[in-house]
Symmetry: C2
Subunit: 370 residues, 2 copies
């Protein structure tokens, strides 16, 4: 991967040199991982005018914790003398020694206080704003990144599939969530991509429902949302099941509506399509079914080294989709007091000529009665 | 608790009014929870000149997720119209409408970009720095906070005690960590206070070792570090055990050295004692035993709504201890390739007249052979 990381740093270098900066300080952990393959604690990455100036400043030598990634190639490493030192000060001083041009920092990540100490790290140092340059580079994934997401999705499907073979009635949402997270790790995940959510009965279909001590009962709808992180890459799936042999008509009806909305969203994914069009495609299905306001402001989002990345598939989103951008499509409907349905997949946007969107999370979306 | 939260906001009000600010915007989640009892996502708390001006701006109505605490009393609540809106902008505009004096913000938490949009939320708005005023209020805990920590410690001792009754040989670090976290939740924790760490054999005694797939073997030292969060309050414990009936002499020797250092640190805790004296007391024991550099730069730290709070028990710390400040004392020694010992307790600083430091984590510190 070291070549890929060096190539990413080279693209970032082109960007900040073009805006008149002489170096960049990258402080956002996911951005550092994207550019080096690792994120040791308290790290700041200096990207210089020349590749041999790239320098990682961290509180600890990289590579001791596998969850922090592999030790980087092609960057010098400085370990901070004391835990009180802020890497951004050391990195800013190094950058000031390399060039007289402004040093670009991530103003959307650095706090006002850290920005102030960075600015005073060297006399005459001028700071500029790097903006979201690294996040923009991260938007379109290369095949290696997509492969990591593919493996994360396989792990996720395996963990979910095993849960479906076990007895669910009588177990609490919390226990089901913990078991899913254990199975993710059993199958080789770094860990959960986000806190696993399990909602049963009146909790089913909610977007951000934290697991409670409610037990699964006959006749419940059961919504689970989980995802594995693999080599730092995070995917997401949600499925809704019915507990018992005979789903009620209202359960079947809502399920079919959400399923149709999710399919409409998935089928709308293509390079060049405005993000808000994907939201509209799913929203129209649910509004025709009488669910005003569903699926809420956000139908889905990009995934990668973070679980909530751009693009945002919202009604107000301005951008367009690109090929090789992984996104979630996750509509849901919830009837207060009764429950609801939520269906979520992770897909990669592909042109129609290549067969259209690539579905990474392949667990069935039939309404299973467990 | 609402009275306690109102009293805390009143103390903060006194502070920023004394520095000439007319309102404060609190954005750091733990600080918002301290002042209101809850932290809904994306929240910013406006503390006004008068109590009836206190106003919580959030992306979602508080109280839906128990992990976010209870809905607050005595503060008005505004839910943001869209997920794209930043609460700090809405809160800054509200504050500007209330006073002409500067509005104090948490420059150590707000990013440069958020600070910029906050500053432009209203014409003529001037922003000042609140600094760590809320963190300073949080340092000394009231009896209710200490009681939450006491319960968190009881839960932690229970989870650890149950693990010790089970068979450990052959199980992986990851599984032991997940079982401990499940037991924390079984006993009523909100969740783990921090990611549970389990290190066996050569991994034992490390401070920040993430669980791996290594299995527990006869003759290993086994270090576990865990803690429960209860009502938002986080405690910490670490213990080291020997696996099998006959600990090696070097294992017993290191254990006794770390135990003596940890006791020296615990016994040094008293109101008025400089934090670095606590570090020195433990360090001297380990240096006399020939462990140069142990216990590293940090012997322990404050705990509360966050697991790593002030005070820092480091060799360079400048402050003194106060009564009713909960801290950890966690020396460790690690021999590369062989393993080591780490012992960590959470205690509350109390004056000698009250019997000295109050030990919250009471699991035995004898060297247990499991």
């Amino acid at each position: 991967m070291s070549d890929a990381h060096a190539a990413r740093r080279a693209r970032l270098r082109d960007r900040f040199l073009a805006t008149g900066s002489g170096a960049a300080l990258v402080s956002r952990p996911a951005n550092i991982r994207y550019l080096t393959g690792c994120t040791p604690p308290g790290a700041v990455l200096l990207v210089g005018r020349e590749p041999d100036q790239d320098h990682l400043v961290a509180a600890r030598r990289p590579g001791r914790d596998p969850a922090e990634g592999q030790p980087p190639d092609g960057v010098r490493i400085t370990v901070l003398p004391s835990p009180e030192t802020d890497a951004v000060v050391t990195a800013a001083a190094l950058a000031a020694g390399m060039c007289d041009a402004p040093v670009a920092v991530e103003e959307h990540h650095l706090t006002v206080a850290r920005h102030r100490v960075a600015a005073s790290a060297a006399p005459g140092l001028r700071l500029a704003d790097l903006g979201c340059a690294v996040e923009q580079l991260r938007l379109v994934k290369d095949e290696e990144e997509i492969n990591f997401l593919r493996i994360a999705a396989e792990i996720t499907d395996q963990a979910l599939g095993e849960l479906l073979e076990s007895i669910l009635v009588g177990r609490t949402e919390r226990h089901l969530a913990l078991e899913l997270e254990r199975r993710l790790i059993d199958h080789g995940a770094d860990g959960p991509a986000f806190p696993t959510r399990v909602g049963t009965g009146p909790h089913s279909g909610l977007a951000a429902h934290p697991p409670t001590d409610r037990r699964v009962e006959e006749g419940d709808l059961l919504t689970v949302a989980l995802g594995a992180a693999y080599r730092g890459y995070r995917c997401e799936i949600a499925r809704t099941f019915v507990i018992g042999t005979a789903p009620a008509d209202w359960q079947i009806e809502i399920y079919e509506q959400v399923f149709a909305a999710q399919r409409a969203g998935r089928e709308a994914l293509a390079p060049g399509v405005p993000c808000r069009e994907v939201h509209r495609a799913a929203r129209e299905v649910l509004e025709r079914a009488g669910h005003q306001g569903a699926p809420g402001p956000l139908l889905g989002h990009g995934v990668g080294l973070e679980i909530g990345e751009d693009p945002q598939l919202s009604s107000g989103a301005m951008g367009k989709l690109d090929a090789c951008v992984p996104v979630t499509v996750e509509p849901g409907v919830h009837l207060p007091g009764r429950g609801g349905v939520r269906i979520d997949d992770t897909l990669v946007v592909r042109p129609p000529a290549e067969g259209g969107p690539e579905l990474l999370t392949i667990t069935t979306k039939e309404l299973l009665a467990l």
